[in-house]
């Protein structure tokens, strides 16, 4: 008996063909040494979102339709608190066999969370930790299913489905400063269709 779905299929993500070379929104901190949370703290001290916009490289951000609002900041606050709480996790934190996330992986999650503030709340993924201790960002709404894991401090993997087309990228380099291009394009597609819907 064969498994109930075609595991041998390959579907070339549609966006690869339509991809145009362009810069993606990047968070550039005031100094190269500032951590995402340091940035976050400074944003709070500076009065919030205007500081976020000031720290984002503008090129390509039109694709995200950035609409400054305190929603971005409250989401980042909540997510940063969740990530911070995970720093105290020990193996077995779920009462079973779950592994605790590493500090390095949580640091990468903080960096990604800061970058994700520019994504529309309709499709912005939510933070959790899985039983392997991987910080995870996921979303399951109309037109977008996303399962993104932080595999290490500098590598992420995601599986997504946008309007029936699968997108998968494995062990993509993530430096904490820029959303990988394919991921940014996926958000752009999802955000566009979310707004149309």
């Amino acid at each position: 008996m064969t498994p109930g779905f075609d595991i041998n299929s390959t579907s070339r993500p549609a966006y690869v063909d339509s991809m145009q070379v362009q810069q993606i929104g990047a968070v550039g901190t005031a100094t190269d040494t500032m951590s995402p949370i340091e940035l976050f703290v400074r944003l709070n001290e500076d009065g919030g979102l205007h500081s976020i916009t000031a720290n984002i490289t503008p090129a390509g951000l039109d694709r995200f339709s950035l609409r400054p609002s305190f929603e971005h900041l409250s989401w980042l606050t909540e997510t940063a608190e969740r990530i911070s709480a995970c720093r105290n996790y020990q193996d077995g934190w779920d009462g079973d066999e779950a592994v605790a996330p590493t500090s390095e992986a949580l640091g990468a999650a903080e960096a990604l969370a800061v970058l994700l503030t520019v994504v529309s709340s309709h499709v912005r993924p939510q933070f959790s930790v899985d039983a392997l201790g991987r910080p995870t960002f996921s979303r399951n709404v109309r037109n977008l299913y996303l399962h993104l894991t932080i595999d290490s401090e500098n590598a992420i993997t995601w599986f997504a489905d946008h309007k029936g087309t699968e997108y998968f990228q494995d062990s993509v380099q993530f430096d904490g400063r820029v959303v990988p291009e394919e991921l940014a394009l996926l958000f752009s597609l999802a955000q566009g269709s979310s707004e149309v819907a």
Partner: protein
Amino acid sequence: MTCEACRAACTHENTKERAVRVHRAEQELCGCENYSVSSFSPGRVKDEELLHMLISDPQHLLDGKLNPSSLIQVDRGGLSTLRDSADDKEFESTCSSLQRRATDKGHVWFLHAICTIPVSELRYLEDKRFVCVYDTGLPDKPHHADIMGPDLKSVATRPMSNGEVERACRARIKILIEKCGAKLVAPRVFRDGAFSGYARA
């Protein structure tokens, strides 16, 4: 009827490899379902049964459905469930044990929701095999059952890279979420609220 290879695989100490080992213990897809794999269980899990998955972390719910992060064990140690034939005492001791162990690790544990799924829906997808359900009863939890996915690398008709396997595993989790759908029950409703004491106030 028992199969020692299946039983050994189901209790293998390396929990990350358990699903793969169970798959390899029998040639037939989900072949270990043909046996009772635990001496503590009342017997094999039938298609007509219901399984209950305890959701303890609000972050394991997403947009009104299960979060993929709550299901990754389907390819590793197995997704723990309790069969509907488990009495309230067994649910009570399971919640109590999970809460105590999490608390020992400094983590606050609450029963957030219960996902109830018919076994027949889990096992098949369009009349073909999807995931396997084994009667992995334990001394204090005889109605414990594990949901495990067949090892995708070994059932593929062509060699697959690790990335392709990972992609297929994640695609399977997405389908699993769709199958579970919105079958989530609040603790105050499940079994007349018998375990609502474990829910966050």
